[in-house]
Symmetry: C2
Subunit: 282 residues, 2 copies
């Protein structure tokens, strides 16, 4: 496994791969890797000749009052995991390498896909995500890029961007990896106290209950949302950011559960913001 | 020469070029070609194995009160010129092919490079330019892309975008091609009446005079601008949009002419908006 910090090194390494016609699978991450990330790496390994993973805590996707400085980091552990997972290249650039002085360019996706759900409480977040992913796509030029469905809105945003800007690559969404008790894996879970961690599985349970309710015939989104909120209320010291039923592709709010729907939520447990979601096909 | 209208056809044709390692030179245009465009094509022909030209009147770079519908078009004549000029592929897609229903993504460059000069009177123009050029870069994946210096701000915007978003290609700015009397070639010159056309060379003369003034020692931008405006006042039925002295790379206003400076202007002659510029190295 090779670890590179600069754009010039990365390009020098990937150029021969491309001219030899080898397929490149890419997993962009912010590090502090867990089994969710590693599932992406494993899938990239199975489907491509070359596996590239980036580790970069991207400042442009954090708001001024968010956890950029505190975001957990452990490069040594990450590299050991990636080496074992069969990664070929790790790209872990400095902030200055990707955003040099005088940096000015941003990719923005308009409409519900960036304005609903997390877009409402995290203004500018998806602009930062779209911008860094554009840059990384240009640097790595992957044939396939792997993203976890836990960040369902991120997947929808990237898919919209890839379609609109005609990126010549395949976005591969991968199922959320969960703890045995249902909690979706997240680097932010490390912030939870033992008591908070014990109650956190209620989030996934509330979503599963919503799926059952829909399977039993409920179609009114407002009723589904209400039921989830009732269940989340059992989590101590928590504040619901949103619970929404939206079209899985456009993320436009649905009044009636229909077609491919996404039920997504964000909740603050103590000072930790957790997200989760589930898809239903009606 | 092959002429294609769809993304799928273009990709199918260019894929083998890339895998065979042939270099691709790209000239994006809005059609109604003149010798300025053809100079770009000739240079692309000299420097690359494959020459791709796009013809697309891009709606997202026109403001609501601009000349989108009236913009001159003559595809048949353009294709004859390109064929004679040694073009390999012409891409002339429909608006729906590049902006299908539900299109949502835009590339925006902040700061002086888009906000000064034409950016002031054409809000959103460079967002449209950056967006379409991003899309075309993803579709053509050129090694080199050719732009005329007549649109100096467009060149600066594209260079900033290519640097910031890490596009792996070279932007090649090419000298403005002029009529014998100095008028910069532009598809919009066709709008001019005979009387307006007769006075239009005063634009380039005013810029050349400014260069002489600077060569003679003048460094105060305000004096240079004043002198140009005095000369432009001789053009009947005209309104000056701007005359500016800016840093050639960042396009930030200069008080003192220094380094690599760009002297740029836009003037409305009757209902036709003309632009021109000159570079000075102090």
């Amino acid at each position: 496994m090779q670890v590179v910090q600069t754009i010039a090194q990365l390009r020098a390494i990937l150029q021969p791969c491309r001219s030899e016609g080898r397929s490149v699978g890419f997993v962009p991450t912010m590090g502090y890797l867990h089994d969710g990330h590693m599932a992406l790496v494993q899938r990239a390994r199975r489907e491509n000749d070359v596996v590239v993973v980036s580790i970069f805590v991207n400042p442009t996707q954090f708001g001024p009052n968010e956890d950029l400085a505190a975001y957990p980091r452990d490069l040594e552990r990450d590299l050991a995991l990636l080496d074992k997972g069969g990664t070929d290249q790790v790209f872990c650039p400095s902030v200055e390498e990707l955003y040099p002085p005088g940096y000015m360019t941003y990719v923005h996706i308009e409409g519900a896909v960036t304005e609903t759900l997390c877009g409402r409480s995290r203004p500018g977040h998806f602009r930062g995500v779209a911008t860094i992913v554009s840059k990384l796509f240009h640097l790595v030029m992957p044939h396939r890029a792997y993203f976890g469905q836990k960040d369902a809105q991120q997947v929808a945003v990237i898919q919209q961007m890839v379609r609109d800007l005609d990126f010549d690559l395949e976005v591969v969404p991968c199922a959320t990896v969960r703890e045995a008790d249902g909690l979706a894996l997240s680097s932010r879970n490390t912030y939870l106290t033992t008591a908070q961690r014990a109650q956190a599985p209620l989030i996934h349970q509330a979503l599963q209950d919503a799926r059952s309710t829909i399977a039993a015939g409920e179609r009114r989104a407002v009723k589904v949302v209400e039921r989830i909120k009732d269940r989340l209320a059992a989590i101590d010291d928590s504040t619901i950011d949103y619970v929404s039923v939206v079209d899985a592709r456009t993320l436009a709010d649905l009044e009636t559960v229909t077609g491919e729907a996404l039920i997504a939520l964000a909740i603050r447990v103590g000072r930790t913001r957790l997200i989760d979601n589930i898809r239903v096909q009606v």
